[in-house]
């Protein structure tokens, strides 16, 4: 009997929760922002922690394909640029972890979820970066898709997320432009260089389009995220907009996109593209992409190799604090 009563009590939302929900609904309806200390539905909090930490993990894992090319960049200038870019990715990861922590999940817990393989990150980083031209294609297409996705997130209803995105978007535009420049230079180089650029675009085109996520009909969480003003546009809307932008930009590069189905649909006002291989997308997301194992292994290795640094710094801080207490 006692347990039954308890269960009934739990099913009824408390007065506090009801007031919280009403206040939350009002803020969302006004298109205002939710801040960390506000009451929020548990699902809203969970959705954000999942989305934001996945985003942070993607930035951290995203350092790998490019860091891989730092030693082989063709000039000192390109090396310096690439290092700055990889450092930015680390920074973006940290902004996002910092914002995610405001939802009550500590940093080391988030980090552990990545190391344990419990958390996902963007499928795009499980593709190999085979040639120098891939640095160009990643900057132009991968960062380009990221920007198209992230600009609307600057207006996400959760304050700390939006603020982190504003900072990130400012920095991403450098990433995209430097990628475009790499491709442009290669495209205007020798026939072999131009071929290298075209080959990189061919390989990154479809995976970049898949970065926007499954089609709207296959994206069950999107609707709720849009109702909560976390997402402002659907996956297909953003993808279509991106296709429209790059089909124009590719002409300046003197290259082509590996898709003869691209066309503007006057009726829907959307850019259309060829079929994407969603089976491949789900395979990569499930951990069976070309580089998943390698990326995770490298990440764990880096974490373990840094353990002594973290311990030493903590020990030193501890010693200093004790000295200060004695003095």
């Amino acid at each position: 009997m006692a347990t039954q009563t308890q269960a009934t009590l739990q099913a009824v939302p408390s007065a506090e929760d009801e007031a919280g929900q009403a206040y939350f609904d009002k803020i969302i309806a006004e298109d205002s922002r939710i801040e960390p200390a506000d009451w929020m539905p548990e699902k809203y909090r969970k959705t954000l922690v999942r989305q934001m930490s996945q985003h942070a993990h993607s930035e951290i894992i995203g350092m790998q394909p490019e860091a891989n090319w730092i030693t082989r960049a063709p000039s000192l200038k390109r090396k310096a640029i690439l290092m700055a870019k990889v450092q930015d990715e680390a920074g973006h990861g940290l902004y996002l972890y910092s914002a995610t922590e405001t939802l009550g999940t500590p940093r080391d817990v988030l980090n552990q979820q990545l190391l344990d393989g419990k958390a996902k990150y963007s499928s795009i980083f499980n593709y190999p970066a085979n040639s120098w031209a891939d640095m160009g294609a990643i900057g132009w297409l991968v960062d380009g898709a990221a920007i198209a996705n992230q600009v609307p997130l600057c207006r996400a209803s959760y304050g700390p997320y939006g603020r982190a995105m504003v900072r990130i978007c400012k920095e991403e535009s450098f990433h995209q432009r430097q990628g475009f420049e790499i491709l442009l230079e290669l495209s205007n180089g020798t026939p072999a260089q131009k071929q290298m650029a075209q080959d990189a675009v061919n390989r990154f085109y479809a995976p970049a389009l898949m970065m926007f996520g499954p089609t709207d009909t296959d994206s069950p969480n999107s609707q709720q995220s849009m109702a909560w003003n976390i997402k402002r546009f659907s996956n297909d809307e953003l993808r279509s907009r991106f296709v429209g932008m790059i089909q124009e930009q590719v002409k300046v590069l003197g290259l082509t996109l590996p898709d003869d189905k691209i066309r503007y649909n006057d009726e829907t006002g959307m850019w259309e593209h060829g079929e994407l291989n969603w089976d491949e997308f789900h395979e990569v997301l499930a951990g069976r992409g070309p580089c998943n194992a390698q990326r995770m292994e490298r990440r764990r290795e880096a974490h373990e190799n840094g353990a002594w640094v973290r311990e030493a710094a903590a020990a030193y801080a501890n010693k200093k604090a004790q000295k200060a207490q004695v003095a």
Binding site: E35, S98, A313
Partner: protein, 118 residues
Amino acid sequence: MATGDQTAMAKPVETVETPAAEGHDKQAWPLWEVFVRSSRGLSHVHAGSLHAPDSEMAVRNARDLYTRRNEGVSLWVVPASAIVASDPDAKGEFFESPKGKDYRHATYYTKSEGVKHL
């Protein structure tokens, strides 16, 4: 206004052991809130937070994390646990008193409309 993002959160973080917090390492580096003065003549503004073992490392990490593009000429780092925020549950009530006191604003006084330099 509550200052840092984390500070406004100080209460829930400390008192609510969410299931997600399981496995949290109590020895983890503490959290610092970072404030950046973007140029002389302006106040320090909250930029975000970071983890560091001590104040010295916190300042260095803050430089690397929040001023990679000349965003600042001065930095403050504050232990997140040292910031006291207004009670988030009080919502409007705490700030109730100034409401309805329009006479504290210049716009309340309309009779002087059109009078120059006033």
